[in-house]
């Protein structure tokens, strides 16, 4: 043991200048300063780790998603413009059928439709909570809405499966699965998100605006419509975009009610597919590195890119809103 240490002990003589100096400096430092360095270091490391995870995520998903175009030689046009999704077979020219257009249309379709459904309800409830019945709104409606945020998405999917799908089947015929069922489920799911954020946006309008308007003789509705909503518009837009982000990325609830047929939807009540539903169904079945798997990762990359685009839009709205409201 001693012999093993022996050669190591003299060695540090020339080189150790740096660590020894550092140690000496640390000794001279007040213990408080060390506590401070340690605290900053630990908390900074946590923040750094979280950032590193995000960067790794974007990098890895992009690496696998881009392999479709670099390694497998599939053209962007046939991916984004192709209308047939069947990566196991090829067309007459021998190119694999990897058209993602049906899923892209499906994803945008359910997102936009659910936003249209949810918009009047969310804004109406938000106005009610802030302007009409603040006590009832804050004590009853808002907590109940926040409770709804916590209900898991699979439970919404299950409700869709056992209530909405049979209901649509009864009215429109067919299977009942499709874009309409998906959008209704999503609308109920994003309702709490959009409502809570709209409440915040409307409550942030300065009280003096309302008093000014009422003082000029405007009715409550005129005040709400012409003053409060105008001023809260950027915040309400942000709420809607964040709701759309959630709807666009929701996987399981949609997958359970959409019918999972990767074709261009011809009606609202025929089975369709979204980016997330195809990913959910397919990823487990295909081995890593195969062309099919690479294309699935490309779908994931599209999903990632869209959520980045939504954030960008929120930022742009925020900047514009700051300009409008001074």
């Amino acid at each position: 043991m001693a012999e093993a240490v022996q050669p190591a002990a003299p060695a540090p003589q020339p080189a150790p200048q740096a660590p020894q100096a550092a140690r000496a400096r640390a000794k001279r430092m007040m213990p408080k300063k060390r506590v401070e360095l340690l605290g900053g270091g630990i908390s900074g490391a946590c923040a750094g780790l979280a950032t590193l995870l995000v960067v790794t995520l974007i990098f890895m998903v992009a690496q696998h998603g881009l392999a479709t175009f670099t390694t497998d030689g599939i053209s962007l046009a046939s991916f984004f413009g192709g209308t047939t999704w069947n990566p196991h077979s090829t067309d007459d020219a021998g190119a694999p059928l990897v058209g993602a257009l049906p899923m892209i249309i499906g994803s945008f379709g359910v997102t936009i439709m659910s936003t249209l459904f949810v918009f009047p309800f969310a804004i109406g409830a938000a106005i009610f909570v802030v302007e009409i019945q603040p006590t009832f709104g804050r004590k009853v409606l808002q907590p109940v809405i926040e409770l709804l945020v916590g209900i898991p998405s699979v439970v919404f999917g299950l409700l869709g499966l056992s209530i909405i799908v049979p209901f649509i089947r009864g009215i429109a015929g067919g299977t009942g699965y499709g874009l309409l069922a998906g959008s209704i489920v999503l609308a109920v799911m994003v309702l709490p998100t959009v409502t809570s954020l709209s409440i915040d946006a409307i409550a942030a309008v300065p009280k003096s605006y309302r008093e000014g308007s009422l003082g000029l003789g405007c009715s409550r509705w005129q005040t709400i419509w012409k003053v409060v909503l105008r001023s809260a518009l950027p915040g309400i837009m942000t709420a809607l975009i964040l709701g759309m982000t959630r709807a666009f990325g929701e996987a399981l609830a949609v997958q359970m009610v959409i019918g999972n047929a990767a074709v261009i939807p011809t009606s609202l009540v025929t089975p369709a597919a979204t980016l997330t539903s195809v990913l959910t169904m397919g990823m487990g079945n295909e081995a890593m590195g195969t062309m099919y798997n690479d294309v699935l990762w490309s779908l994931a990359l599209v999903l990632l890119a869209m959520s980045l685009a939504f954030i960008l839009i929120v930022h742009l709205i925020g900047r514009k809103g700051a300009k409008i409201n001074g």
Partner: protein, 318 residues
């Protein structure tokens, strides 16, 4: 009297009748709007109540049946339970919180107390914003790539817990950040003026002050984690091996505490049995599981409100 009989020669700029009509119209509009908005709010209340009542009543017969809560699931037979799933859900939740609370606490302290105003801080804030808006299926697929394949941990509790951590960090971080920011600056200044370091001020003054809000936020985020499924189907897996609660051998796949075994949770169970559709009593089992899930989440919400209020009373001695 005579005036009303003879027409006024001077032209009137404002017709009083029109003004009255206008005001009447505005008043009617305002009343109609109030009625419509109240109806919308009422409709939402009714919808929410209906959803909760439906979920709980549809699954009540199963959810309060001890045999259902403790027995293992069945593939092709009726009468399967959710015993392992229930345990897995709670075990995953605890592991996730153990990993994500310190991480988000550290990151939040850094962002609120230490972060200099430069591009590095802005990059960190942007990264966390990106993480918060990522679809959970993308987080799950990343976990599949990194933890399941790259680290070759397979479908396991640890992979699932780490994926859920990524899902949970932005939620927790925001809560803790808001709680710290809500502490008055006076408290910070007082601590620093007494010669405490920033770290000591944070640990001894700010954190106790922010604790009620942090606890509430942690419990609410626990509800979100508890019901998450999309991030788990490709990380913690979709199978629940039978558990042997007498085993403490951490390498045994039947040992409940083994973090390397696959673990299906309640939410994943609902999704899986519905997408496979081979369980004969599918509706009963999934309704029962959904009821258990929602009851647990309601309990989390109640506990969060209660604990936050109780703690803040104790700390502020009000």
């Amino acid at each position: 009297m005579a005036n009303t009989a003879t027409p006024q020669p001077a032209p009137r700029l404002i017709d009083p009748d029109a003004v009255v009509a206008h005001v009447e119209k505005a008043r009617r509009q305002s009343k109609a709007a109030t009625v419509i908005l109240t109806a919308i709010a009422g409709a939402i209340c009714v919808l929410l109540a209906a959803i909760l009542v439906y979920i709980i009543s549809a699954g009540a017969s199963k959810a309060f049946d001890p045999a259902f809560l403790t027995s293992p699931p069945q593939q092709f037979k009726e009468g399967g339970g959710i015993g392992p799933e229930l345990f897995n859900s709670f075990y995953l939740l605890v592991l996730t919180l153990v990993i994500s609370i310190p991480l988000s606490l550290g990151a939040a302290i850094f962002l609120v107390e230490y972060a200099p105003d430069n591009w590095v801080t802005r990059a960190v804030k942007t990264a966390i914003e990106v993480l918060s808006s990522l679809p959970s299926i993308v987080v799950g697929l990343f976990g599949f790539l990194l933890f399941v394949l790259q680290m070759s941990w397979g479908f396991s509790i640890i992979s699932g817990a780490l994926a859920l951590t990524m899902f949970n960090i932005p939620i927790l971080l925001r809560v803790i950040q808001q709680a710290l920011e809500a502490v008055p600056t006076d408290q910070r200044d007082a601590g620093l003026a007494l010669g405490m370091t920033r770290w000591e001020t944070t640990v001894h003054i700010l954190l106790p002050c922010a604790m009620p809000a942090i606890i509430t936020g942690v419990i609410l985020s626990a509800g979100r984690v508890f019901g998450e499924a999309a991030a788990l189907i490709y990380t913690a897996g979709q199978s629940a091996p039978a558990l042997d609660f007498t085993s403490f051998d951490l390498t045994n796949p039947a040992c409940p505490w083994n973090i390397w075994r696959p673990a299906e949770t309640l939410a994943v169970h609902i999704w899986k049995i519905n997408s496979e559709g081979v369980v004969p009593d599918l509706t009963a089992v999934s309704d029962g599981t959904a009821a258990v899930l929602v009851i647990c989440i309601l309990a989390f919400n109640l506990i969060a409100r209660f604990a936050g209020r109780r703690l803040s009373k104790k700390l502020t001695a009000e």
